[in-house]
Symmetry: C2
Subunit: 121 residues, 2 copies
């Protein structure tokens, strides 16, 4: 098995080969990048954080976020299709909440940890 040689040789050893081959598998990183993309928008990260704490209907989310319901609906759709939140209809209303998954819980923790690091208090 042949190695891809780098223009410069600063590092050595078998570990470098492991890193390089892992890095070449771009698809390994896609799920993480996709999750981060969902939370990279400040509106969406706040919605997600809210839904980690409370189940809410669209109108109330719109009210808390002070945004139009079409705008909120758009963000909810993105979060839902990425699997971070779920929804259920009850009468005229649709209620959203964070998905009960390891990924969702992990991301919720990270959000709070980053806030802790950046806004200690």
């Amino acid at each position: 098995m042949e190695h891809l040689h780098l223009p410069h040789h600063h590092q050595e050893g078998p570990e470098l080969e492991v890193i390089k081959s892992h890095l070449a598998q771009a698809e390994y990183f896609q799920p993480a990048a996709d999750a981060f993309k969902q939370l990279s928008d400040s509106t969406r990260i706040r919605i997600f954080w809210l839904l980690c704490h409370y189940e809410e209907c669209v109108i109330n989310i719109s009210s808390m976020m002070d945004m139009s319901s079409p705008a909120i609906s758009h963000h909810l759709r993105a979060l839902k299709s990425s699997g971070l939140i779920t929804s259920r209809r009850d009468g005229k209303e649709v209620y959203y909440r964070a998905a009960d998954t390891a990924e969702s819980q992990l991301l919720h923790n990270v959000i709070e940890q980053v806030m802790q690091i950046q806004c200690p208090k």
Copy 2:
């Protein structure tokens, strides 16, 4: 102190008020959203992950990523100005590596955890 009333009343209690007031402080979420934005691009998340493991120069990063150096340079600039990586010049080359900060380490861990969740093996 007066509460902002929601259109619908599904939940009750003082906790809801805490959630609402925290949510209203959009700036609390900005650092987390900014960090996630950096890692929301699949090229950038791979570069960051690499630099958590090895210090490397731009040419070698370009080679491993199979992309032009201007493109890589742009991404490095973004990562650096967000504080996730640092650089040092040595002769003609500029070496980059992950910043030695709590935030950087946290995000590195999360990337690997999400990969673990999504690609168990």
